[in-house]
Each structure stands twice: as structure tokens, then as C-alpha cells.
């Protein structure tokens, strides 16, 4: 089921990397997301943008993966920014408190404008 998510890392300047996610953020995407986060952190990037799509899907196991990322990013003093067009997604992130550990915007453009 790991082909249900596509994860790509894009380096936009020497301080910022974008992790583009498309698909289902569930147990099955744990390795892909953690690998992408490691790759994005490798260059000493201090800003990491997660770019979700309108039609992406996330469940509680996917949320747990992101809390793991948040935990690691705090240790590394990174700033996490999330572009989340789906209002359903945003609601879930608020519900579990993820919004307290990452800046949330509705589009990649807005997210990029913050750095």
C-alpha cells in the first residue's frame, strides 16, 4: 500500500526544504515521510515546509507520524510550516494540537511567503 503516497523533497534555498506529499498519510507512509524528513534536514535546513494537497487523506496513524516529526524538529530547532488546503485536514490538526507546533497556511504560496 506504500504506493498510495508520493513524497518528494525540494530544496528551494540553503535554509528551506519543501516536502511535497500527495495521497494517503497512514501507517503505510511512515517510512516515506521519515525518509523525506531526514533528507530535508540533511542540509541543515532550518525551515521545513510540508505541502499537502486538497485531496490528501490522513488518519490518526498519520497524525502520529507527524507528531514524531514535530518532536524531532523541536530538538533540531527547525521551524515547521504546513500548507494545508483542506479545511477537514486543518480541523483534525487543530483537534490534536498539531497547530501549536507548526504554522499552518492554506496554500503553498502563503507558506513560502513566511520565510
Amino acid at each position: 500500500m506504500s504506493d498510495e503516497i508520493q513524497v518528494d523533497v525540494q530544496y528551494i534555498d540553503d535554509k528551506t526544504a519543501i516536502i511535497h506529499l500527495e495521497g494517503d498519510v497512514t501507517t503505510f507512509s511512515e517510512k516515506d515521510i521519515n525518509d523525506a524528513y531526514k533528507a530535508a534536514s540533511d542540509n541543515d535546513n532550518s525551515n521545513i515546509i510540508f505541502n499537502f494537497r486538497e485531496n490528501d487523506y490522513i488518519n490518526s496513524a498519520g497524525i502520529a507520524i507527524l507528531i514524531g516529526v514535530v518532536t524531532e524538529a523541536r530538538k533540531q530547532n527547525q521551524r515547521l510550516i504546513m500548507a494545508i488546503p483542506s479545511s477537514h485536514f486543518q480541523k483534525i490538526f487543530r483537534m490534536v494540537g498539531l497547530t501549536q507546533y507548526a504554522d499552518i497556511y492554506s496554500s503553498l504560496e502563503e507558506a513560502k511567503a513566511q520565510i
Binding site: T27, A61, I67, H88, M95, Y101
Partner: protein
Amino acid sequence: MKPPHTRRVVELKIPNELGYEKIARETVGTVAKRLGFDDERIADIKLAIAEACTNAISYGSQTDTRTKIIVVLTADEEKLEILVKDPGFGDSPPPTEVTVPDIHKMVEGKAKLGGMGLYIIQELVDKAEFIQSGDDNGNQFHMVIYRMNDEDIEFNAAKST
């Protein structure tokens, strides 16, 4: 009381294997769309059923993939009811209370990652609870989503007083 034939029942049996909850998610998505729920509410319902099925697969069953999870969707003019039944072969009975997850403790390493499924379900649907099953030993998780939106309900409540 509505006459019984205005109810529509869809029943689904899926193998007790992680990933198959996706079928329940798509099925309830199609039913909810047909019932006229808006996209946001449909996303809520799909996530709630997926979490309930994931739990039924993870905690209510053994690893034998021949065991089935049964999902029953019942719709009438008023509500969509969802029943998720697992064989109850898990190590422990389902919890009677839902704990609110504490993300701060998780981030500080003082609580283990997870334990959010039942909480998310509870926030997304109008009613969610494990109910006593009948003769067999299975668990039944019951959810209700009302078709009216909150404004309608307030409006009607105001009218009836």
C-alpha cells in the same frame, strides 16, 4: 416513527487486515454523498469509519485474515448510523472512556505516540460508543451522524419550545 421501508441498509464485510478499512471508507463516502452530506462532513464520516475499522482490525481480531469485520450502514430521513463489529478476539475489552490525547506529553517523550483514534472519532460524529453485543462475544462500535446541520436543529428546537 418512520415506516421501516424508508430506511436503507448497506452491509459490508471486510477481511481483518490493515488497509481494508479503505473499502469501508470509500463505501461510506458513496453512501454519505448519496444522502446529501457536504464534502467536509463526508470527509469527517470517512475518517471516523476508517478509525473504527482500523481499531476493529488492530485490537478486536486475531491475525487470521479469514476473520471478518462487519460494517452496517443504516440511513433514514434523520440520520446515518454506522455499526462496526469485530469478533472480539483481542487481548482486552474496548475502553469505556475516551482519553483526550496530550500532544505536549507526546512531544516531550512523556506519553507514547498514538491513542488518538477514539478521540478523533468522538469529535467528528454526533454519537460514538461501544455497545454490548448480543449472544456472541464480539464488540460493536456504534456511531450516529445526524443529517440536519446544527442550525436546523437549533431552529427546530426553538420552534418546539
